[in-house]
């Protein structure tokens, strides 16, 4: 398809709106009449029961219109805990419906006032007395009470092939190491926000920040006990999601409830501090990895056991070992997932759930075993490349991991690495090179799209798909333009509205493959009409698409290889990234510019997870202590050199999608942090298995090494 507009590095079609401030995010949307402002009051105990709510001072404070709590919140549909699968984010999300406090920072009241300032001031005046109960907040301590969940996202929680214990015991070269990853917070730049406005005919329109319009639509309608047609969800621009906007939260429901009672629009925007507890987070994990190999570097054993936090009120398993099942060949295999229910906020998907943290462990373990084998870590991975899915025993749809590794090593100049740590220096800095492989499952889902053409052959595509920064607007325009053979600037793409045909939305990297497949079908149907002599004016067609049995017959993943160079300050242990390269196999790339951006973004999330991000739980209260952007560190400009490059291999996976594409939004983070960790080790000889790799931990290791040298 050399002439296709698909794949071209087009500028984003929504780019001009974004750089001029014209793109309207949920909190930017003007209401028909000036809205009232709602502010959430959150719990200050980790577990307990609300004994008393004193709202008098708040209610009489200037400008206050209402104070809502469990004492007076309207009835809503009950919450169903722990439901998994595609319906998880479509569940009812009742608010202020319980006297119980399930976690620190849970919404327990809402104050609505004329102005944001008045509502914020009055929220502080609501006095909530709780009967606090002793809660469980410590994952490590809670391990003794860990249980096996019924399911994880990837299916079965455990997998077992061969005899891991026996093989491990008899293997000459092996590693048994435990890695830990901390709580992480999505922290998209856009605060979660909703504006709710009721029309005279009893329909509520909610402008909110959601990745999944269809799920949000169902979730809000079911919570409010309204038929779907009485709820309209709009999310045209979303200021980042990363999984944190898969569910809807109290802002959407409470804005709707308050707006109904007050008879005027209500806007609720979470504070940055509230984002840490009111929205979801990535659970902390403890991961034991056992790898064993023979002298030739062939793995005999791959065992990956995971313990992870789940909110007591809503089960979710961080499937950290799931992709380990498909990564390397080995006759003896074990993966397990165990859940520790804690009285903490709800954990859920965050960019590459499972894989992002699972590969921090597995891919560092691979580096450790490669060193024991005296093998180059690239070569070690090449020697363990499976010829089919090692656990499902089905062929891979496509798998170019070998190419990723080889090309990456070549382009990065991997051969300059000295395998002995601490040998490369630049002034006071120790320089290290590290690499890791990446894998991410491909999840395509059913989708529906509509396309119209006017008399001027101007095309309008409509889907309830979202663009969370991924480039959906642009790739959908490219697919429509290509399929209909019209210029891309004659295509308008309308997204993020519950009136439009249903798609799975943005999540799990399934958005692009799912929605483009449906839009292509719609365009083909329109083309059939055109070819039959209809139109072009007033022409409309719809298309549906869903994955077929290829999902059972083939093992579908995308792959990558990361290479990183870091500098470790020999005095302080500070780690700074100097250079990073990722080579990726994600099938056909729909837009080389936006895909590259997503991959680089993912890689830099890997840098953040390796070096910075750590949402710390106060073990006494269950509160996230460092709950703002000064305390929770994400990389800033100075942490990121411009020498960060993503290379996309040419590919086409016809088992994945008729367009041959797979997702790229999550692939970049997978393995990226492990490449950093391995580079840190190569730089200074310190293995930090407890992420993130902050100066204190590196320094501690360096000081131990210095002492050992002095002895």
């Amino acid at each position: 398809m050399p002439d296709s507009i698909i794949g071209q590095p087009l500028d984003r079609i929504d780019g001009r709106a974004k750089v001029t401030g014209k793109a309207r995010y949920a909190a930017d949307v003007p209401a028909g009449v000036p809205p009232a402002y709602g502010v959430l009051v959150t719990s200050t105990v980790g577990r307990g029961e609300i004994a008393k709510i004193e709202a008098g001072d708040a209610e009489t404070a200037p400008g206050v219109l209402m104070v809502m709590s469990h004492e007076n919140a309207p009835p809503q549909a009950p919450f169903k805990s722990g439901e998994l699968g595609g319906q998880r984010h479509a569940r009812p999300k009742p608010q202020l419906d319980d006297v119980r406090v399930h976690y620190y920072g849970e919404p327990v009241a809402l104050v609505v006032a004329e102005t944001f300032e008045q509502a914020t001031a009055a929220a502080r005046l609501v006095r909530i007395s709780c009967r606090a109960e002793s809660g469980s907040y410590d994952l490590a301590e809670g391990r003794r009470l860990a249980y096996r969940p019924q399911h994880i996202v990837a299916g079965e929680p455990d997998s077992r092939i061969g005899d891991v214990d026996k093989a491990f015991a008899s293997s000459p070269i092996k590693l048994d190491a435990t890695y830990t990853t901390p709580y992480q917070s999505h922290n998209p730049m856009e605060l979660v926000a909703s504006l709710a406005e009721w029309s005279d005919d009893g329909k509520v329109t909610i402008h909110c920040a959601t990745q999944l319009v269809n799920s949000a639509h169902h979730s809000i309608a079911s919570t409010l006990k309204l038929p779907l047609e009485k709820v309209e969800v709009v999310s045209e621009y979303i200021g980042g999601g990363f999984g944190g906007k898969l569910p809807i939260y109290g802002d959407a429901i409470l804005a709707a409830l308050a707006a109904k009672q007050l008879g005027r629009p209500v806007k609720i925007v979470l504070t940055r501090q509230q984002m840490f507890s009111v929205t979801t987070h990535r659970a902390a994990t403890i991961q034991r990895v056992r790898l064993a190999a023979d002298q030739d570097g062939k793995l005999s054993t791959v065992a990956h056991e995971v313990w992870t936090q789940s909110a007591r009120m809503d089960e979710f398993a961080e499937a950290a070992a799931a992709s380990t099942r498909a990564m390397y060949a080995a006759p003896n295999r074990l993966t397990t997932h165990r859940i520790v229910a804690l009285d903490l906020p709800v954990s859920d998907s965050m960019r590459a759930p499972g894989d992002a943290v699972g590969q921090l462990a597995l891919e560092q373990a691979m580096d450790e075993l490669a060193e024991k084998l005296g093998l180059d870590p690239v070569e070690f991975r090449l020697r363990n490349e499976p010829d089919q899915d090692p656990e499902k025993h089905v062929p891979f749809s496509t798998r170019s991991l070998v190419q990723c590794l080889k090309q990456g090593a070549e382009k990065f100049g991997w051969s300059r690495r000295n395998a002995t740590p601490g040998r490369m220096k630049d002034g006071a800095s120790l320089i290290g090179l590290g690499m890791a492989a990446a894998i991410r499952p491909n999840y395509r889902q059913a989708a529906h799209a509509r396309v119209r053409m006017d008399a001027n052959r101007h095309v309008t595509a409509e889907l309830d798909m979202t663009d969370i920064g991924t480039g959906s607007y642009t790739i959908l325009a490219q697919v429509a333009a290509d399929t209909l053979q019209v210029p891309v600037d004659t295509v308008d793409v309308h997204l993020g509205h519950s009136d439009y045909p249903q798609t799975p939305g943005s999540g799990g990297s399934f958005g692009a493959a799912s929605s483009t497949a449906a839009l292509r079908e719609a365009c083909l149907a329109l083309k059939t009409k055109l070819d039959a002599g209809q139109g072009p004016g007033n022409l409309q067609a719809e298309g549906r698409s869903k994955p077929g049995e290829e999902y059972e017959k083939f093992s579908q993943y995308s792959y990558g290889a990361h290479f990183a160079e870091v500098a470790v300050d020999s005095t302080t242990g500070e780690v700074r990234l100097r250079h990073m390269l990722g080579v990726f196999d994600a099938g056909r790339i729909l837009n080389a510019k936006t895909a590259r951006s997503q991959l680089i973004g993912g890689m830099l999330w890997g840098v953040g997870s390796a070096l910075h991000e750590d949402a710390v739980v106060d073990m006494r209260s269950g509160a996230f202590v460092n709950h703002d952007l000064a305390g929770y560190h994400v990389p800033v400009h100075a942490d990121v050199p411009t020498a960060v490059e993503a290379v996309m291999l040419a590919g086409f996976d016809d088992k994945s999608s008729p367009l041959g594409c797979k997702g790229v939004g999550e692939l970049g983070i997978c393995g990226a942090g492990a490449a950093i960790a391995n580079a840190v080790y190569n730089a200074c000889g310190v293995r930090v298995r407890d992420y993130p790799i902050t100066p204190d931990k590196v320094l501690n290791g360096m000081m131990h090494l210095e002492l050992a040298r002095q002895r």
């Binding site: 780019g15 401030g21 004329e114 008045q118 922290n187 730049m189 200021g239």
Partner: protein, 215 residues
């Protein structure tokens, strides 16, 4: 929407209709709506005159209103974003008298008589500012939420370089001219967090807009 909105709010809420603060000399430049004590009682709104993107705007504001919220909620200029409300992210960056600042950490009343430039004042979809155009070409954003702040910050930052102001990345503090270079830009732009991590593309866009080649 601002004026009628405020009046209505004043009637509906507890806000009293407003008079300008006078009598302290410092506020003498402000238009006075009548006699008033030097310090208005609590709950009183204050007249604020701001020049925003070239036009003078008169507002009556609760003194608690930040410049950010004044722009967004009272002037309908929602291009400026709230990302943290604490000066920890930079999404709210605007130019105040030509200097980049976090609008969330400024009281609107304290900005009286200042010249404010927001993203809407830099350029329009039809006539992009060179920095805006460079961000589009280099894909210097993904979700776009931090983008107005990044762009305003970049414009202010280049002017700081032009004025010879040093940064933590400046090797030679004694140098008169500051280089428009990658390390300088990365350090100077660090007050603008991009969670999508479009950082390499943003730096490329800024270098391009500054007339420097990238790479």
């Amino acid at each position: 929407m601002s004026d009628s909105h405020l009046t209505r709010r004043g009637i509906l809420g507890t806000g009293v209709a407003l008079t300008a603060l006078r009598g302290t000399g410092a506020l003498a430049k402000e238009p006075a709506a009548g006699e008033s004590p030097p310090v208005a009682p609590e709950g009183t709104m204050i007249d604020v005159g701001l020049t925003v993107n070239g036009s003078y705007r008169q507002l009556a504001l609760d003194p608690r209103v930040s410049l950010l919220d004044a722009l967004r909620d009272h002037l309908g200029l929602t291009g400026t974003k709230k990302g943290c409300d604490h000066g920890q992210c930079g999404a709210c960056t605007v130019l105040v008298d030509g200097v980049r600042r976090n609008s969330c950490l400024n009281l609107a009343v304290a900005c009286s008589d200042r010249e404010i430039v927001t993203i809407e004042g830099l350029g329009s979809e039809e006539a992009l500012h060179p920095m805006q155009a460079a961000f589009v070409v280099h894909d210097g954003f993904q979700c776009g939420y931090c983008t107005p702040g990044q762009i305003c910050s970049a414009v202010g930052m280049l002017s700081e370089i032009e004025r010879g102001m040093p940064s933590a990345a400046t090797a030679d503090l004694a140098a008169r001219a500051m280089p428009v270079a990658e390390a300088e830009i990365r350090e100077r732009m660090s007050g603008n967090i991009c969670r999508c991590a479009a950082y390499p593309n943003i730096v490329a866009a800024i270098l391009d807009a500054a007339g420097k080649t990238t790479g």
